[in-house]
């Protein structure tokens, strides 16, 4: 493409005279790219914190006795882990970091529709985080991330209200982001950028935003009711007073099942970009991938009952929920098949982002298929509340969302910072993560199937070997997460200058400089082609020109 010279003023360019001004230029910025960086720092901080809690959980589980902590502390530990990872890492991770950074760039817009709302969403996130953290510092919560009533509303003696307030506030941060994305996608597309020329990442973010807007307020109100119930004790969730504890589960899962799609849909979007770029091919079945995101967004609202097969739900409802749960696997499978078909005869280059994308495909398939096991009522009744469920959702959330998040961070790192990361270390750590992940969580399928219940810190001796294996895997995994932090930071100083389009990718974001100027584009681009317009013979040409060490 045109020029690789750095632009006069990238969005990172600092022209502030003193420290106070500099801080203000970041904390009061309305530039979506700077806000993305703020999110990046905050969200990764929470990720490390959640990881720390997981470390303690895994250490405790090395031995069958409860020797490191009491059962009470253990409860607080896994709750801390769950609350932080789900509400403060997985849900915002891809939308708030990559989405914020990329949506306007991919749409050819100068910013999101409501830049100030965007900044507000970051403050809400931080504010919610402060609540959740203070709850942890003041002694933690012991309800699990699901806050089931009547335990949470009546019996628990921990900081439920503080934590709930944190999650509640954080919910409004998601809503703000989602409102922004929907409005931006509808109204801010560059000339010529029709709906079917949108990158699939945008489709995925759009579907995610719809889910956020429709589902988040419901959990908000459910959590509010729990908090009020704790204060007033009127029994809305207390059967002794005429209330119905299962109502909470309905309201909670009406949000929290869609929430798993809030976590995975953005990941699908990232993977579509990566697979196409690193196969140098037009994505296979663009419309199917786009519409399957929408199908998931809609069907996702109709399956919450599969979390309540053992909660006194009528068998008939369970049957219906089970059936719809099977249906929702179809759009997910459509995507995986389309990605596979995209790889076929592609010119595949195993760069770090692609390693993550391929890892994602394998792990998500395992996670998704075990989800179908769990969707079968009979099997679920056998393995519900065991490590089988724990393994299932870690395969989709860590193997899916986190792999995609890391893949995306690597892929767009040159765009965000203007520098390349170290490819060798990138590949090594991607492999370490893949191995460590499987070592940690595959044994948990076996454990769960054999009957190890979740949320217990004391267990029968015969499970120890699998638990030790899992904890050992977690150590490997932790190493895999720490290495990228190091080489990514180093790349800021020493990384090779990336140029505008180091991957020879097609999106609009690659048509502006790296890092992009504050207003994104010198002139608003005009779009005349489909999203993944790799020349049809690109893959064949690459193959012909390939020699060992070729960059792509």
């Amino acid at each position: 493409m045109a020029t690789t010279a750095l632009p006069q003023r990238g969005y990172l360019h600092d022209d502030t005279p003193n420290l106070g001004e500099w801080i203000r230029s970041w904390l009061f910025t309305v530039d979506h790219k700077r806000i993305a960086i703020l999110y990046l720092l905050a969200i990764n901080f929470f990720f490390l914190l959640g990881g720390l809690a997981a470390t303690f959980v895994r250490i405790e589980l090395i031995t069958p006795q409860g020797d490191l902590m009491s059962s009470d502390v253990y409860n607080r530990m896994f709750t801390l882990h769950g609350v932080i990872m789900i509400f403060f890492f997985l849900i915002p991770a891809i939308p708030a970091v990559l989405g914020n950074f990329l949506m306007p760039l991919m749409l050819g817009a100068r910013d999101l529709a409501f830049p100030r709302l965007n900044l507000l969403s970051w403050y809400l996130y931080m504010f919610g985080g402060v609540f959740a953290l203070s709850a942890a510092v003041l002694g933690g919560v012991d309800t699990g991330w699901t806050f089931y009533t009547p335990f949470s509303s009546t019996y628990s003696n921990s900081n439920v209200i503080l934590t709930i307030t944190g999650a509640f506030i954080m919910g409004f941060s998601s809503i703000a982001t989602a409102v922004n994305f929907i409005a931006t996608t509808h109204k801010m597309r560059a000339p010529g950028l029709t709906w079917f020329r949108l990158p699939l990442f945008v489709w995925a973010m759009y579907a995610t935003s719809l889910v956020i807007v429709l589902a988040t307020p419901v959990v908000g109100i459910a959590l509010l009711l729990v908090a009020i119930e704790r204060i007033w004790g009127v029994g809305i969730f207390d059967p002794a007073l005429g209330g119905d504890p299962v109502l909470f589960q309905h309201l909670f899962w009406f949000y929290s099942h869609p929430a798993v799609y809030i976590m995975i849909l953005p990941a699908f979007g990232v993977i579509s970009e990566l697979i196409s770029t690193f196969s140098r091919k037009r994505i296979f079945g663009y419309e199917f991938i786009a519409f399957s995101s929408m199908a998931i967004a809609i069907l996702g609202f109709l399956v919450w009952g599969h979390h309540m097969f053992v909660s006194s739900q009528s068998v008939y409802s369970s049957l219906v929920f089970s059936f719809i749960t099977m249906l929702i696997a179809i759009p997910s499978a459509i995507k995986v098949f389309n990605w596979t078909a995209t790889l076929y005869k592609g010119s595949i280059s195993y760069r770090t982002p692609m390693l993550y994308a391929l890892g994602f495909m394998g792990l998500f398939v395992i996670g998704g298929l075990t989800g179908i096991f769990l969707g079968v009522v009979a099997i679920d009744i056998h393995v519900t509340d065991t490590y089988f469920v724990v393994a299932h959702f870690h395969y989709v959330m860590v193997g899916g969302t986190i792999m995609a998040y890391l893949g995306g961070i690597h892929f767009w790192w040159p765009k965000m910072t203007g520098r390349m990361y170290n490819e060798i270390w990138g590949g090594i750590s991607a492999l370490i993560i893949f191995v460590g992940f499987n070592m940690t969580f595959f044994p948990q399928f076996v454990l769960g199937y054999l009957g190890m219940p979740r949320r217990y810190h004391v267990y029968p001796e015969e499970f120890q070997i699998l638990h030790v294996l899992s904890s050992a895997g977690a150590t490997v995994l932790a190493v895999g997460f720490v290495i990228p932090i190091i080489y990514l930071m180093l790349s800021l100083k020493t990384g090779r200058i990336a140029g505008d389009n180091p991957w020879e990718a097609t999106g609009l974001e690659w048509r502006t400089s790296s890092p992009p100027p504050t207003h994104n584009f010198e002139a608003i681009p005009v779009v005349t082609t489909e999203a993944y317009a790799y020349p049809p013979e690109a893959a064949a040409r690459d193959a012909a020109e390939w020699r060992p060490g070729s960059p792509l």
Partner: protein
């Protein structure tokens, strides 16, 4: 694009877009291409937000449905103890305020600043009236808990309430009829087993008032936000920011106000009129 097509149907005082941002109105933010785009975006954003608001109240409506289904008799009886006349007055107040907001938007569109300010002012007054009446209703319930016949008597130490009644959920909740021996008689059908009054607490009657307080309380919070928004709108209208070419804030704020009204239109029959 804006150079070829006129961006707004109304007569724009500014000539066609020349170079630089100064050619636009001050209010056109830099990341928008045209005033039209900015207006559509803002309106769409508000509509999406209204959807989330509806879902927020949707959770409460869900709880309402579940419990009304479980305790139909309790619901019918409990509703008698709300102050229906005041609720009805409040409904009228809000409906009229919806009208004045609509007129305010119309006035803004026509560039009639005086009428715009008048309408916004009336809206503010009506909104405040609503909150005062609502506040009175709440305080009535609290006064009863304190044993006073009405809020005034509560403050002045005047007339006492005949039979004990406390409809504020919590430890002291007492629902007059359901108390004591009548509990068995009150429950019919499926609700029977649940409807046994619990010592000290109230039985499912309390759930009705709990939902009442939460729903109307949340609504009142929205009223306060709505009043804040209308105040800001009044301020910027007074400053002369609003013109026939730029009245998006009035329109968007108006949308929010209408939503608050609509929610009340559902709350009123669901709580006051179910007997």
């Amino acid at each position: 694009m804006a150079t070829t097509t006129p961006t707004t149907p109304t007569a724009t005082p500014a000539p066609a877009h020349e170079h630089g941002h100064e050619a636009h109105g001050r209010e056109l933010l830099h990341h928008f291409e045209s005033a039209q785009q900015q207006k559509e975006t803002a309106t769409l954003g508000m509509w999406i937000f209204l959807v989330t608001e509806i879902m927020l109240f949707g959770g409460i409506f869900m709880a309402y449905i579940v419990y009304r289904w479980a305790f139909p008799d309790v619901w019918a009886e409990a509703a008698h103890h709300l102050n229906t006349p005041l609720g009805a007055v409040n409904t009228v107040v809000l409906l009229v305020s919806s009208l004045t907001v609509a007129l305010a938007v119309n006035a803004a569109e026509e560039g009639n600043r005086r009428r715009l300010l008048t309408m916004l002012g009336i809206t503010l007054l009506l909104g405040a009236t609503f909150l005062v009446i609502k506040g009175y209703e709440y305080s009535e319930k609290f006064a009863h808990c304190a044993g006073a016949a009405n809020p005034v008597a509560w403050v002045t130490g005047g007339a006492r309430l005949g039979e004990s009644e406390c409809l504020v959920p919590g430890r002291n909740f007492i629902f007059p009829e359901a108390h004591g021996a009548e509990g068995a008689e009150a429950g019919h059908g499926t609700a029977d087993s649940y409807a046994q009054p619990q010592a000290g607490l109230g039985s499912p009657y309390q759930l009705f008032y709990f939902l009442y307080f939460v729903a109307t309380g949340l609504h009142a919070v929205h009223m306060v936000i709505g009043l804040t928004i209308v105040s800001i709108l009044t301020f910027i209208a007074w400053r002369g920011v609003i013109t026939p070419t730029y009245y998006t804030p009035i329109e968007v704020g108006g949308l929010y106000w209408h939503l608050i009204d609509i929610i009340w239109v559902f709350l009123f029959p669901l709580f006051y009129l179910v007997h």
